[in-house]
Amino acid sequence: MSAGGGGNDVQWCFSQVKGAIDDDVAEADIISTVEFNHSGELLATGDKGGRVVIFQQETENKSQPQCRSEYNVYSTFQSHEPEFDYLKSLEIEEKINKIRWLPQKNAAQFLLSTNDKTIKLWKISERDKRPEGYNLKEEDGRYRDAATITTLRVPVFRPMDLMVEASPRRVFVNGHTYHINSISVNSDNETYLSADDLRINLWHLEITDRSFNVVDIKPANMEELTEVITAAEFHPHQCNTFVYSSSKGTIRLCDMRASALCDKHSKLFEEPEDPSNRSFFSEIISSISDVKFSHNGRYMMTRDYLSVKIWDLNMENRPVETYQVHEYLRSKLCSLYENDCIFDKFECCWNGNDSVVMTGSYNNFFRMLDRSQRRDVTLEASRESCKARQVLKPRRVCAGGKRKKDEISVDSLDFNKKILHTAWHPQENIIAVATTNNLYIFQEKVN
């Protein structure tokens, strides 16, 4: 399968949906992060209940090429538990904010998962054989009576049913006073960064009792606080470079070679604003909820409340491309502020060859924005389009005036059905879209 050319030549069809059908959603089941690993063979989800579920792509059935490879449960474990900080009288949520996979080095898989305060390195390994024929123990583990042992034998490995085990290998605690919003593994495969509202720390994957602070934007007087860090990511190839975005709509690129403390940025990406257009909402909707480098490392994408912007790393004064996600919401900002939806943090992602980007919206809609063909489409993740290989029909929202057939009016949109988290397979046209408590997998239609 190709890396996915134009997103709009591609017809997307339903492949699978995971999760309960009932509308009564328990808090714990709310999906909070979705991430493919580097090969795309594994797909991890984290939820508000602190649990991680990993799906594995089945090896393709050669005799049935029409039957696309499916993702089935590979492993599931409780990553984080709710905690109570007695000293500060604070509750620490177990919600998994982010999962990031490490590139595979050996037979085991490793991922980092984080809640608001603690990052954990998990090892996921397979066991498909076990030793049998111990001298001192029975097969069920009971010790044999020494008096009955008359001969010696050599234990041998025998095959067993595949068991996938997840074990926490490192726990990185006490690095953050504020809430962690991002983690990012460095291309050097030895370090990673974690970012909270005011600080960014650099960790070594092997060392849990120390971390270096590389960015600190906490003002001496908290009354002077004007912006917070919203997301951060390492450059995919340059191990000295990372970016972080802010609640004011700026992105700073930092070079760790320049100094140990990167409070002074190397580059500042900011689109000039027309002061006459400024309103009470301007700063809130300019807050960047996600920043992602392109796979080729030449661009980065940012998501703010109403748009997606593509920036060329060589041009700081404006983005090279801007796409409207749901411009029709601009005339609804007052009610979106009142119901807090204006603070929703949408993520965004690139396809394998950086030609198409995807982001979520409301009413379980998500948007595919084709950079090469300058076209966009709105699709929906819903139980109504769940027939195997059913092609997704484009959706249209009517902003005002006469509503055409098949269009949905802005006022009918369900703002409780948000798609905040999406992921794109690194090589193939396979996407994972998370609604509140369901995970949808869509694939490119194969003729």
Binding site: E91, D197, F280, F281
Partner: protein, 111 residues
């Protein structure tokens, strides 16, 4: 007379603003409902609210012990009928804390 003329000019300006920017129209709506919005000084309220997410004091052992000392002979205040109500003079006790149910149930995605 002149007052009326002035009002209609303002109305016209507002109408123009609506035509020019739906965002500004929304702002006008919001300010009408919450006239004190954004007038308080001292850093962004929104930012501070964000930093304080989850920072709710449930139980202060100092308050609790002081209250216990004061009421040597009396009964300790019993838990409020509604467990979420921890306001005013009521000193929360460990029994008042909402039970944090741990997720011992497997994720529904794993089925």
């Amino acid at each position: 007379m002149s007052g009326e003329v002035q009002a209609s000019t303002e109305e016209q300006q507002e109408m123009q603003d609506t035509v020019v920017s739906p965002e500004k129209a929304e702002e006008v709506k919001l300010k009408a409902r919450y006239p004190h919005l954004g007038t308080r000084p001292g850093g962004s309220d929104l930012l501070r609210k964000r930093l304080q997410k989850g920072q709710q004091k449930y139980f202060d052992s100092g308050d609790y012990n002081m209250a216990k000392a004061k009421m040597k002979n009396k009964q300790l205040p019993t838990a409020a009928a509604e467990k979420t109500e921890i306001t005013g003079d009521h000193i929360p006790t460990p029994q008042d804390l909402p039970q944090r149910k741990q997720s011992l149930v497997a994720s529904k995605l794993a089925f």
